[in-house]
């Protein structure tokens, strides 16, 4: 039993944190979000440093102990995605690093947006939808890999911390589906599992940052002659949030380490996405009025937590998947 990251993993997290310190952060996220932009620069920097393809690269390096049974270094990729979420990076890293390599051995052009067939039939806002080069559509037993033209999607204004876009019209979906490659049932299973896992992983990094930001604030914010963080009711609630985040982190990492098996993924997502609501509510409440202003960085992460809860039917979807994985049955 060992929760420590090994040396290679530690080196990876240090390297990604260094890169993010230079190229990401709350101020940059706010600037990009104001205009609904994608962080091309960070996207390029991640690719140039080799992070974007790390899951497959490491796994194909048979001299390394990072090679895993599923042909994917899931934990390493998850650590990177978690770090990018923590830094508020405005890039589609989860789809690129966790989902795409699990779905297809061939490289898929990024940025990548993810959606279900239902999301096409009734076009809804998709994270990174307006900026994606490829749309991965989770069908009923298949996956469609659709190269997007500049005219397919339209930007949607949203306050939830990611640039959003949606298909211009439902009528286009037929043409779109005929355009790309179709992958079989294995790909569909893999996409479901890794997408759901990526929501948990992103939620972990995002909750981490939201909570840390709040803790830092409450250590210095004084009322009644004391730091607010020194009041016991506040301490207890922060402690409960910290437990939720830690448990989410290890459930998600464990699921990634073991190649995103159904039950572990569903449990990690059900837990983390539920925790995301608690962390949202508590961090805002404990920040007071300043947390409701755009000048306080909390919203960079907090609003994203709500967006993550909307994908793949959110907590409810994850819970149903968990019950199916453990006890079988449909629904």
């Amino acid at each position: 039993m060992d929760f420590e990251l090994n040396e290679d993993q530690q080196a990876i997290t240090e390297a990604i944190d260094r890169l993010l310190a230079q190229h990401a952060g709350a101020a940059r996220a706010i600037e990009l979000n104001r205009e609904g932009r994608y962080d091309e620069h960070l996207h390029e920097a991640l690719a140039a440093a080799g992070f974007s393809t790390i899951a497959t690269d490491l796994a194909s390096d048979h001299s390394s102990d990072l090679s895993r049974d599923k042909g994917l270094a899931g934990l390493e990729a998850a650590l990177i995605v978690e770090a990018i979420a923590r830094a508020g990076g405005v890039v589609a890293s989860a789809a690129q690093m966790l989902v795409a390599p699990a779905v297809s051995a061939a490289a898929i052009a990024g940025p990548i947006a993810l959606c279900t067939m239902d999301n096409l039939a009734k076009p809804v806002p998709l994270r990174f939808g307006a900026h994606a080069s490829t749309l991965l559509v989770l069908g009923y037993g298949d996956v469609h890999v659709i190269p997007l033209g500049s005219d397919d999607m339209e930007a949607v204004r949203s306050s939830f911390g990611y640039p959003m876009g949606r298909l211009r019209s439902a009528e286009r979906s037929h043409e779109l589906l005929s355009r790309g490659d179709t992958l079989g049932p294995q790909a569909a299973l893999a996409m479901t599992r890794w997408w759901r896992l990526s929501l948990a992983v992103e939620a972990v990094g995002t909750m981490d940052a939201a909570l840390q930001h709040t803790v830092d604030y409450l250590k210095q914010r004084r009322q009644f002659g004391r730091a607010i963080g020194s009041f016991q009711p506040i301490q207890h609630r922060l402690a409960l949030c910290a437990i939720q985040v830690e448990a989410s982190r290890w459930l998600a990492r464990e699921a990634a380490y073991h190649g995103a098996q159904d039950e572990a993924v569903a449990a990690a997502a059900a837990f983390a996405l539920n925790a995301a609501d608690q962390v949202f509510t508590e961090t805002h409440q404990m920040s007071g009025a300043i947390g409701f202003t755009c000048e306080f960085n909390l919203h960079v992460w907090s609003m994203r937590l709500l967006a993550l809860r909307q994908e793949l039917e959110g907590v409810g979807g994850a819970r149903r998947a968990l019950v199916r994985a453990r006890w079988g049955g449909g629904g």
Partner: protein, 373 residues
Amino acid sequence: MNTAFSKDELAFQDEVREFLGDYRELDGFYCQGHKWPEVRAMFRAMAEKNWLALSWPKAFGGMALGPVYEFILWNEVAYARAARNPLAAGIVAQTLIRYGSSAQQRDWLPRIRSGEIHFSLCYSEPEAGSDLAALRLRADKNAAGTHYVLNGQKCWQSYAQDMDYLWVLARSGTQESRGRGISLFICDKHAAGVTVSPLPTLDGDQLNEVFFDAVEVPLAQRVGEENGAWPMIGEALADERHIQFPPGRVRRDLEDMVAWLNANGLGADPVVRQRLAELTVQVMETEMLALKVLEAMVKGVNATVDAAMNKISHTLACQDIARAVLDFGGPEALVSGARPELLWRQTITETIGGGTSEIMRSVVSRQLLGLGG
């Protein structure tokens, strides 16, 4: 025990509903900052019926009708999502009636009653939020003794960008005197040295910072005794307890949610219906607690604890409904300006503004349960 309204009260409720028929589309409750000219016009129209002075004594041109009528009015206005109750006709007027000089009553009350002037509440400061008694904004008399000079900063002022006057708490005693060294002033928002600057908020509206740089306020605009503001603001708050968190808003949130669920074909889903049942009970809880506050006001007994319980229950219900809408809304709920997401973004603050849930819980535990602290 009888929680029903009387025949006359019900007739008044009908009258209010009819009046609000013209304002169904106003939508000034959530983001009044975007709708102020329209909201102001509605207040003017109310004033023509003398509804801004429903509970004021007749001597001041009021109707002396008491808290039930006020509750009915602002509850219906909230249900119609038209506006929030204006500060001027409530806190400001009640304080002037109780503590103002006759000159102040003569100068200010008629213009408030007619809906001509409006006020922004300047209490909180960067270092004085929950701990209001720590406020620092200075008020010192000038050498000639003709004016007070205000220096310092307020923050989180709702609607200050649109208001005409500021209702300012300022420190006239020593910092250590806390609540015993605070005075209350009426300050013209356009006075030299006043700067209002916006703090954009997550609901797309704004709060404000208000800076005072050597702002001269005539002695005649101090309300009540010097250093005597603390008990006055407590009483003014008490005057508003029955209308500050009207349950009509929560009832409307619930009804809008049900309509929205049905429109999206979700009304028959058993998981949705279970959640709906929980929320409906929550709404009934907050309606009952609001009536308890009202009853205390009618009987003239202290409503502090009832009001704290009502605020906690009301604001949690708001958030729980908004959360459910977002949960059931799926990704569509993330589009800017869509009702579900606006509901959610707006409700974040309900448990903070007007006294945080934590401060309200302390009131309940100390004053109802006698736990000390």
